[in-house]
Symmetry: none
Subunit: 123 residues, 2 copies
Amino acid sequence: MINFVLDPKAGIPFYRQIIDQIKYGIVSGNLKTGEQLPTVRALAVELKVNLNTIAKAYKELEIQNILETQQGTGTFIRKIEVRISEKEKNKKLQDICNEFVTIAHSYGFSVDDIISQLKKQLK
Amino acid sequence: MINFVLDPKAGIPFYRQIIDQIKYGIVSGNLKTGEQLPTVRALAVELKVNLNTIAKAYKELEIQNILETQQGTGTFIRKIEVRISEKEKNKKLQDICNEFVTIAHSYGFSVDDIISQLKKQLK
DNA sequence: ATGTTTGTACCATATAAATATGACAATAGT
DNA sequence: ACTATTGTCATATTTATATGGTACAAACAT
């Protein structure tokens, strides 16, 4: 579970701060596959924002296939189900990598930079 | 010269993405002092945005004394040192990687999968 | 069945971002 | 001088974003 925090001075919308923290939580392992997130109302109260703001964050992550929501039950970190061929999988991985290398490049980061950052995250 | 890239899914305004890419381009050495940037019109066409959006980015960097514009001639990198702290740089790299890893994760790929794919691309 | 908890949908409002146009000014090349 | 190219400015308009308020719908517990 994460300890959510909002920074009103950050100049970053609340819902996006929440998105980022969830993503960070997944990458760092603080959020595990299948784990339930706080309910929109609970988190809204905790962070003192409207429940729509939370719902918007959750919604966007659901569209990105990162979360899974069930009305009446809750919101969860999506369990990945792989039902594509090995070949398609590799193609997908390649596509994702290409896209991100391009973005990283535009900020002056090299593939080596990315790799060493990723390795850091493994520890 | 930079290969500018706009990511509509990033949740960061276009003009700010351009600003960041120029700043990081200077820091990483991809943009050198005195170098001319694309004209506002050229970059607008390339990125398929309005020229005002590019002009806004350039303008803000001129105010920050990072760019130098000469009406009728073009926009250039100023002879000053752009300082971005290690911390900030790492944050940016981390953000990019974070985004990357989360998406990959949602397709069932691990950080190790990504690293080995990236290493393949290096060869 | 009923009530509670869950996410969802819709509406309203304010602000920010991006576009569209057009006119203008400085520079360079001819 | 003339022309083309550059950035600038102003203004209006449209679109997207951001947050809040309220009511609705699905799942669950009892």
